[in-house]
C-alpha cells in the first residue's frame, strides 16, 4: 500500500530570521524538498513613488534613502543623475569624485552586509557577520563625517553633494584604505575557504546565464552567472571612465560564485576609492542651482547606476512644477527576485535560505 503524502505548505515569513526583512514565501515542501515557491511582497510598501510626486526635487531625495537602506548612497546617486538630466546641469568635477568615493564605500558596506548575512544564513553563529560589520562600521563613521548621518544619508543632492568633505574625512579615508585589506584577510582566513562553506554553496542555487539575461537580472547575481556586465563600465556615469577596475565574474552561477564575486568586488571598490583619492582636485562640491528646482515641462530622464544589488534606475517625468510628475524606480532587488522560483525548485529548505541570501535582496527596495 502506497503512503499518500501531500506537500506541506509553510509560510516562511513575514516574520522569520532570514527572509531579510518582511518577505513572505509560501513554500510547498515534500519532506525537505521544495516543490513550489510563491513569494508574497508588499509588507513594507510605503508608496515611495507616489510620495515623491508630493515633494519637491530635493525633498524627494530623502525618500530614496529609505529604498535600499543598506545602500543609501547609490540610491541618492541614481536619483540625482536623473534629476540632473532633467535639468540639464553639469556637476562639478570634485563633486563627482566625492560621489564616486561615497558610492564605492557604500558598495563595500552593502556587500559586507550581504556576505555577513549570507554566512549567517549558512549557520555560522554571527561571528563572520561581526567581522563584516567591523569593516562596515568604519564606513558608516566616515559617512557620519561627510553628512552627519550613518544610514539615511541624503548626502548627494541634484548638482553635486550636500557639502565638501570635512578635513578629518581624508585621514580617516587613508586609514580605511590602509587597514581594510587586513580586516578583510581576517575574514577570509576565518571562513571563506572553510570546507563546510564550500560544500554548502558549490552547486546550489545555480542560475544559468540564459535565464539570468532573460530575467533581466543585474548586479552580482548576473556577474556570478558569468556575464561581465557592469553599468559603471557599460554606461559610465560620474567619473567612472577615469578609474581602472576589474569586473569579477563567476563561472557556474551558483551560490559560491555570487559569494566570491561580491568578495572580489569589494577589493575592486577599494581600488576605485584609492584612485579617486589620488585624482581628486580642489573645486566646487555643488553646482550653483536655484533653491527650488523647476525642470522644463515635459522633460523625461532616466538615471541609472550600478548599485550594490544591481541596476538601480530612476525614470523621472517633469510637468514643469516643483515636484516630479512621475518618479519610477527600477529596483534591482525586485527584478532579481523574479528568478527565485527557478533557483529554488528541487532544492532543500536549508539551501533555500542560503540562495535567498545570495541574491541579496532588500525589502525596502522590493516593496518601495
Amino acid at each position: 500500500m502506497a503512503i499518500r503524502a501531500e506537500p506541506v505548505v509553510v509560510n516562511i515569513g513575514p516574520q522569520h530570521p532570514s527572509t531579510h526583512g518582511v518577505m513572505r514565501l509560501r513554500v510547498s515542501f515534500d519532506g525537505e524538498i521544495i516543490v513550489d515557491v510563491e513569494p508574497v511582497f508588499g509588507y513594507l510598501h510605503r508608496g515611495s513613488e507616489k510620495l515623491a510626486e508630493e515633494r519637491n526635487y530635493v525633498q524627494a531625495l530623502t525618500l530614496t534613502d529609505r529604498l535600499d537602506y543598506v545602500a543609501s548612497m547609490t540610491n541618492n546617486q541614481a536619483y540625482c543623475l536623473a534629476v540632473e538630466r532633467l535639468l540639464g546641469v553639469e556637476v562639478p568635477e570634485r563633486a563627482q569624485y566625492l560621489r564616486v568615493i561615497a558610492a564605492e564605500l557604500q558598495r563595500i558596506a552593502s556587500h559586507m552586509v550581504a556576505i555577513g548575512f549570507f554566512l549567517q544564513d549558512l549557520g555560522a553563529l554571527a561571528t563572520p557577520l561581526m567581522y563584516c560589520f567591523r569593516i562596515r562600521e568604519n564606513i558608516l563613521d566616515m559617512f557620519e563625517m561627510l553628512c552627519g548621518a550613518r544610514i539615511t544619508v541624503s548626502y548627494m543632492r541634484p548638482g553635486g553633494v550636500y557639502a565638501d568633505a570635512p578635513e578629518e574625512f581624508w585621514p580617516a579615508l587613508d586609514k580605511f584604505i590602509a587597514n581594510t585589506p587586513h580586516l578583510f584577510d581576517d575574514l577570509e582566513k576565518l571562513i571563506v575557504e572553510n570546507e563546510i562553506v564550500l560544500v554548502r554553496t558549490k552547486g546550489t542555487g545555480v542560475l544559468k546565464l540564459e535565464s539570468a539575461i532573460a530575467g533581466s537580472i543585474s548586479g552580482p547575481v548576473l556577474r556570478g552567472s558569468g556575464l561581465p556586465w557592469d553599468w559603471r563600465r557599460a554606461d559610465p556615469y560620474d567619473i567612472y571612465q577615469r578609474v581602472q577596475f576589474d569586473i569579477p565574474v563567476g563561472q557556474r552561477g551558483d551560490n559560491y560564485d555570487r559569494f566570491q564575486v561580491r568578495l572580489e568586488e569589494i577589493k575592486q571598490s577599494l581600488r576605485i576609492v584609492q584612485q579617486c583619492r589620488e585624482q581628486i582636485q580642489p573645486g566646487l562640491a555643488r553646482a550653483e542651482l536655484p533653491f527650488i528646482l523647476r525642470p522644463p515641462a515635459g522633460a523625461e530622464a532616466y538615471g541609472r547606476v550600478e548599485s550594490p544589488k544591481g541596476e538601480l534606475a530612476f525614470y523621472m517625468v517633469s510637468d514643469g512644477s516643483v515636484a516630479p510628475y512621475r518618479c519610477k524606480v527600477r529596483s534591482p532587488s525586485l527584478i532579481n527576485l523574479t528568478v527565485l522560483k527557478e533557483l529554488l525548485l528541487g532544492s532543500k529548505l536549508a539551501d533555500m535560505i542560503v540562495t535567498l541570501g545570495s541574491i541579496d535582496i532588500n525589502m525596502g527596495e522590493v516593496d518601495r
Binding site: 530570521p17 567591523r134 558549490k202 563600465r233 577615469r242 578609474v243
Partner: protein, 422 residues
C-alpha cells in the same frame, strides 16, 4: 546496605551524623548518631537526598555558569563584549535571564497537545540528570559505579531524542515538526558511530564501569584511542545539537526547530538541559579519554580540580566550534555519519580488538591486563592509523557530499576602460 556510596565523604558524614550506631554501618566507627536505633533507613534517605540535591543543583548551576561562559566567550570571538552589567563580569546574567523567563506567561498553543507539550521539558531535564549519576567527579565521588556505566550514559542520553520528537509533534507547528523530523533522523544515525567509538575504550578497560575506565588509563586514552575520541566528540556534538550539526534548531532555517513554541519556564528548563548536556558530554569525554580525576600529581586530593579542568577544556572546545563553523545540510550530515564516522568507528573497533587480543590474551603473562608500555605501543600504532584513515575517508567524503561539478575558482575578467580621459 549502601554498596557504592560509603566511600563518599559527604554521604558518610551525613549518614554517620544522623544514624551510624552499630546497626549495619560498621564503617561509622561505632559512633552514635542523632537518631535512635532502628531509624538508620531515615539517615540513609537523608544522606542520599543530600547527595542528589548537591548533584542536581550543581548541574543546574553548572549550566548557568556555562551559559555565562558561552555568552562571554562567543562575544569575544565576535569582537563584542558580551554580558557585563549584572554582577562582576556579568556573572549574574544567567540569574537575571532565569528570573525573566520564570516571570513570563506560560504559553501553550491552542493547536498543541497540552499534556505531551508540558511533559517535554521534564523528559529532557530528567534524561540529563539521570546521565550524571554514573560520572565520577573525583575518586569515590559518584552517585553510582554501575558496571554498565558507559552503556547507561548512552541509553539515558538517547531519551532526549524522545523529548525532541515529543516537542516537535506536540507543538502543532510546522517548523517544530521539521525540527523534530530532522532531529529523529539525525540523532538515531549518530547513535551508531557514537556507541561503536566507545567500544574501543570498553575493550581496553575490560569493563563498562566509568571508574574502571579511569583506573585503566595508565596513559590517557586520547593517545590510545585518538580515532575513538574524535568520533565520540563529533557524535556527541550531533547529539547535543551543537554546530555544525545544529539542524534541529537551525535558527536561520526553521526559527528554533522543535522548541519554537516553548517559552517561559519550559524554555528555561529545556535550555538548562541542553547546556548541562554539554557539561555532561564534556565530563564523559574527560572521564573516558583524558583520565578523569587523575592528574600529574595529587590525583587523590585534587582529583575534582583535575576533573573540572579537563571538563572546562572540552566545554571551551564546544564553545569554540560553535562560534566558528557554519551548519551542514541534512543530507550532508547523514552522509557524514554513515559514510565517514561509521567506517572510521569500525576501523577503530577492529584495530583495538586485535591489539587488545594480542597484548592482553595472546601469550600474556597476566591475562586481561595491559601494561603502561603496551598502552604506549598501542598509541604508537593507533595515531598513524587514525591520521591515515581520516585522510582516506575525508577524500571519499568530499567527493560524495560535495557538489557534483568539479572545483573551479571564479576567474576575474579584465576589461579595459573604453577610453581613459585625461
Amino acid at each position: 546496605m549502601v554498596p557504592f556510596l560509603q566511600e563518599n565523604v559527604v554521604f558518610r558524614g551525613v549518614y554517620c551524623f544522623f544514624g551510624g550506631n552499630d546497626g549495619n554501618a560498621t564503617w561509622c566507627g561505632g559512633r552514635d548518631g542523632i537518631f535512635p536505633g532502628g531509624w538508620e533507613w531515615l539517615a540513609f534517605f537523608i544522606a542520599g537526598f543530600t547527595i542528589m540535591f548537591i548533584l542536581v543543583n550543581g548541574a543546574l548551576l553548572g549550566a548557568a555558569v556555562f551559559v555565562w561562559a558561552e555568552r562571554r566567550l562567543i562575544a569575544r570571538f565576535q569582537l563584542r563584549r558580551g554580558p557585563n552589567r549584572w554582577g562582576p563580569f556579568g556573572l549574574l546574567q544567567p540569574i537575571a535571564d532565569l528570573l525573566k523567563l520564570i516571570t513570563k506567561e506560560d504559553l501553550v498553543p491552542t493547536s498543541a497537545d497540552k499534556i505531551v507539550f508540558t511533559v517535554v521539558p521534564i523528559v529532557m531535564l530528567a534524561s540529563l540528570l539521570l546521565s550524571l549519576a554514573v560520572i565520577p567527579f573525583a575518586r569515590n565521588t559518584y552517585l553510582a559505579d554501575l558496571n554498565i556505566g558507559v552503556l547507561y550514559f548512552i541509553a539515558v542520553g538517547t531519551l532526549s531524542t524522545l523529548g525532541v520528537f515529543m516537542a516537535g509533534w506536540a507543538s502543532g507547528n510546522r517548523y517544530a515538526v521539521f525540527g523534530a523530523m530532522r532531529g529523529v533522523a539525525m540523532l538515531i544515525s549518530y547513535e551508531v558511530p557514537l556507541i561503536l567509538s566507545l567500544v574501543g575504550v570498553v575493550l581496553l578497560a575490560g569493563s563498562m564501569s566509568m571508574v574502571s575506565v579511569v583506573e585503566a588509563q595508565l596513559i590517557p586514552f586520547v593517545l590510545v584511542q585518538p580515532l575513538g575520541m574524535l568520533i565520540f566528540m563529533l557524535g556527541i556534538s550531533a547529539e547535543l545539537n551543537r554546530t555544525p550539526f545544529d539542524i534541529l534548531e537551525a535558527e536561520s532555517e526553521i526559527i528554533a526547530g522543535y522548541h519554537t513554541e516553548y517559552s517561559g519556564i519550559k524554555f528555561a528548563l529545556m535550555q538548562a538541559a541542553e547546556m548541562a548536556g554539554v557539561l555532561a558530554a564534556s565530563a564523559v569525554l574527560s572521564t573516558l579519554f583524558l583520565g578523569g580525576w587523575s592528574g600529574p600529581f595529587l590525583s587523590g586530593e585534587l582529583g575534582a580540580m583535575w576533573f573540572l579542568l579537563k571538563l572546562a577544556f572540552f566545554a571551551f572546545l564546544f564553545i569554540w566550534i560553535r562560534s566558528t563553523f557554519p551548519r551542514l545540510r541534512i543530507d550532508q550530515i547523514m552522509a557524514f555519519a554513515w559514510k565517514f564516522l561509521l567506517p572510521l568507528a569500525l576501523i577503530n573497533l577492529v584495530a583495538t580488538a586485535v591489539e587488545v587480543y594480542f597484548f592482553a590474551y595472546y601469550n600474556a603473562a597476566v591475562p586481561g591486563e595491559i601494561t603502561r608500555s603496551e598502552q604506549w605501543i598501542m598509541a604508537a600504532i593507533n595515531l598513524p592509523l587514525a591520521i591515515g584513515s581520516i585522510a582516506l575517508f575525508s577524500r571519499f567524503l568530499r567527493e560524495r557530499i560535495a557538489a557534483p561539478s568539479p572545483r573551479l575558482e571564479p576567474k576575474v575578467a579584465i576589461i579595459q576602460p573604453a577610453e581613459a580621459a585625461d
